[in-house]
């Protein structure tokens, strides 16, 4: 009887976790893709994130949302990945190896004219460039706010930073975007 009950519990937990994966995997992948600009690396880190989450699922107490918790794991994994790459030159070369024009190609045309689309594409390419040059923290905060649309308290929980620090990072990042856009 007890064995049967624990088996049913185990199945319920597996089902719950599988729903979490289905619901949040695209978002985690998107954040890691925007942050690393490397499809293979983003996929690998996403898999590692859910593997780690699965191992620690019992420890998740629901104090924050599952999304915030997963995002925190993803951010730490990405940080560890770059930290483990001790050769700064290689890190730099790899980061710059992504063609940013390709990324800015993914712009929905909407109701705009061809000229407007070209201008918008150029501006988006500039934002990609600025984001690539931001520090790790600034980039993370910027992406969580303006790509994942998280509010400051969720960003604070995901990054472990205070809201004041997040505001400062956002302000600096936006200032860099503005400067780049004006410079054109």
């Amino acid at each position: 009887m007890a064995v049967e009950a624990s088996r049913v519990d185990g199945e319920a937990v597996a089902l719950e976790f599988s729903n979490i994966v289905l619901a949040h995997r695209p978002q985690i992948f998107r954040f890691l893709l925007a942050s690393t600009r490397d499809v293979d690396l983003a996929e690998t880190l996403t898999q590692e994130c859910f593997l780690k989450a699965h191992r620690n699922w019992d420890g998740f107490r629901g104090e924050s949302s599952a999304m915030t918790w997963l995002m925190r794991i993803a951010i730490n994994l990405e940080k560890d990945h770059w930290r483990n790459r001790r050769l700064a030159f290689w890190r730099h070369a790899r980061t710059n190896s992504v063609d940013l024009d390709d990324a800015s190609d993914w712009l929905p045309s909407g109701e705009r004219s061809v000229e407007q689309q070209l201008i918008a594409r150029e501006k988006v390419a500039q934002v990609w460039e600025v984001v690539a040059k931001l520090s790790g923290r600034q980039r993370t905060v910027f992406l969580l706010r303006y790509v994942e649309d998280l509010d400051l308290s969720d960003i604070a929980r995901a990054t472990g930073l205070s809201e004041g620090t997040i505001k400062a990072h956002l302000s600096r990042a936006l200032s860099k975007v503005r400067t780049e856009l004006r410079g054109n």
């Binding site: 499809v39 800015s104 993914w106 712009l107 929905p108 988006v124 934002v127 936006l174």
Partner: protein, 134 residues
């Protein structure tokens, strides 16, 4: 779509910047959605194993080169020291031979030129002996 305004303290943005950030967001979402639906795993595994193999190969080569370099350097120093020791011994031998030759020569000269010389004070001594007997 507009970004959720979460705080009055958040940086102010003009419409143009807002639109650019929305476009940027759309591009990230579209790119991610397109990549997410494509299989990449086989490529990744291949690339990873190739990179790992290359890293190990390079690491082994570097380790071998370092060890071989160290051994060669040590051997080279040993040979240098041996040559220096032989050279020093040869030099010492030559110096010793030269010294011996000089000493023999001086000894020969001494023996050739030396002779018995009567004591210059002998007559005076005799006179002093005679005076005292008288």
């Amino acid at each position: 779509m507009s970004f959720r305004r979460v705080s009055q303290d958040e940086p102010q943005m003009d419409e143009s910047l807002k639109q650019t950030l929305k476009d940027y967001r759309s591009s990230v979402h579209a790119w991610s959605a397109a990549e997410y639906s494509q299989p990449h795993r086989a490529v990744r595994i291949y690339k990873t194993s190739w990179r790992v193999a290359a890293s190990w190969g390079m690491g082994c080569l570097l380790a071998f080169a370092s060890v071989a370099g160290g051994v060669y350097e040590r051997q080279h120093l040993k040979e240098q020291a041996k040559i220096a020791a032989v050279e020093a011994a040869r030099q010492q031998k030559i110096e010793a031979e030269q010294r011996n030759a000089s000493e023999d020569l001086f000894a020969k000269i001494d023996s050739d030129v030396s002779r018995e010389v009567p004591s210059a004070m002998e007559p005076l001594a005799k006179m002093m002996v005679e005076d005292s007997t008288e």
